[in-house]
Symmetry: C2
Subunit: 300 residues, 2 copies
């Protein structure tokens, strides 16, 4: 249960990969959010768990709890579910609808991966490079924009809000990293927290160079604003992949980036030790980053 | 999606069977209920879906939403989960805990069945006998006892309350009915509603003889009390199996009953037509039975 999903050897050369995630109104989204986005994101976060293991997603089961039966809401929500399933050829094979006071969505995703090849959290090796896909901090800055804490020109705001509401699970990337990455995880709790999961489970230390972290053009010059720094290091909801790989794989990783049209950026390295260290550009250490998403502590 | 679970051919002579169910505080249980029972029942209703298809349960994933993090509650809840998993050699392979305003439990159960042998709802045949396992109405009469609507001597009340809180999925029975039953379902929505699912999906009519329905000794003489009649015909939460089989299988069915120490009772037959008819002992028809459990209509 340390990985994003459970691996089960079904004995025909494949492992079954199973994962489940619940999104709850008031915690992961607002009940007034666009139902399309709620559906879309529910699928995205589950497929992202499979992506982090290099699995090919095949099926999902949906369990929906609703305060009232609202057909228009359900139709838009279903459209969000179907949009992402369709683009990855995943089938909705079952489900359950229940009445309850709080809107809540649980998805279970089922995929397959060739036996003993799944990407894991506990296989990072000393001297591995640490890589991340895409841009980091988009989702949590999107949330700050939505809450009115930060503002940007409208077009740029769309980039952040789109990531918050319709994140893209990096399914193709996960599969291509099999045989290349020694460890992987998706950035859902926050960059430092998720790097910490790999470090702890692999028994190593991860050093991240703060200025190497790829961020949106709009915040490049505001990297040291406190809200933005917290979002980059501690915000979750990006659903990019963080992975480690031997230095000799750099060229292959760069060619995967080109093939997928998805930036892959080296942001640090694996060393002996414990935990995660974030270096600023002056040889100093950042220490007061928000420590990632904890449902029972940091947020309501 | 018409069956209790989804069937997926994984290509090695087995079908994967997947099912998911959510239990929500205020709808399926009270937040003040014994956490052991909440855990136990969450597993039971999911394994019951697999039982109704003749599948062997192997794995479950748990997604728990909690208003507050209460370690004692979680430990007792986990004990309930584990108790039933252990007795059926099922492994908890993954999960997710989330904070949300309403206590809610979603379980996904994964099992296997030999390809093309799973029990289905849509294969009932004309002239099949209709059978049911165990006793009917225990769960919903348990709820009436809990609500103070009905009262019995304490020892008898325990039988009803135990079924309400810790129903027994009929896993062994389901597997033994493969090759014998033409159709099967678990009694979760209510006897008539669930018979209706088989009738509708098989394109037949099911006739049930009210006085043949096996009930607890304590209510045998109160069969025509209105609350009790509604509970027998319309109450769900029994998690017995309702199945249809050719008349020639009666002896084999009786020997399965003896082997399992579980009563199996013939309560009706399959004929041409539509829907479900319930006959009283005098050649009349019962028409005003509560039509089973509908989360958005009959109950809060």
């Amino acid at each position: 249960m340390g990985d994003d999903g459970a691996l089960i050897d079904i004995g025909d050369g494949r492992d079954l990969v199973l994962t489940t995630d619940t999104l709850v109104s008031g915690t992961h989204f607002l009940s007034t959010d666009d139902p399309f986005s709620i559906g879309y994101k529910s699928v995205a976060v589950n497929l992202s768990d499979l992506a982090a293991m290099g699995a090919i997603p095949k099926y999902v089961l949906l369990s929906l709890t609703l305060p009232v039966s609202d057909e228009i809401w359900i139709e838009q929500f279903s459209n969000g579910i179907k949009a992402l399933l369709r683009s990855h050829s995943v089938a909705l094979v079952g489900g359950d609808t229940t009445r309850g006071d709080t809107l809540s969505v649980t998805l279970t995703a089922i995929g397959f991966v060739k036996s003993d090849t799944a990407l894991r959290r506990d296989h990072a090796c000393l001297d591995d490079d640490v890589w991340v896909s895409g841009l980091i901090g988009l989702g949590s800055i999107g949330l700050l924009i939505k809450q009115g804490v930060l503002a940007f020109p409208v077009e740029e705001e769309q980039d952040f809000l789109r990531r918050l509401h319709e994140p893209q699970p990096r399914i193709e990337l996960g599969q291509k990293l099999i045989g290349i990455a020694n460890s992987a995880i998706d950035v859902s709790d926050g960059l430092v927290a998720d790097a910490g999961h790999i470090a702890n489970q692999s028994g190593v230390k991860i050093i991240i160079d703060y200025e190497e972290i790829p961020v949106h053009e709009a915040i490049k010059n505001r990297r040291f604003n406190q809200d933005i720094e917290s979002s980059i290091l501690g915000g979750g909801d990006d659903y990019e992949l963080l992975f480690t790989a031997k230095a000799e794989h750099m060229l292959r990783i760069n060619s995967i980036a080109a093939e997928l049209g998805l930036p892959l950026t080296k942001i640090g390295r694996v060393t002996q030790g414990v935990g995660v260290e974030v270096c600023d550009g002056n040889g100093g250490l950042k220490k007061d980053f928000q420590k990632g998403f904890d449902h029972f502590a940091t947020r309501k």
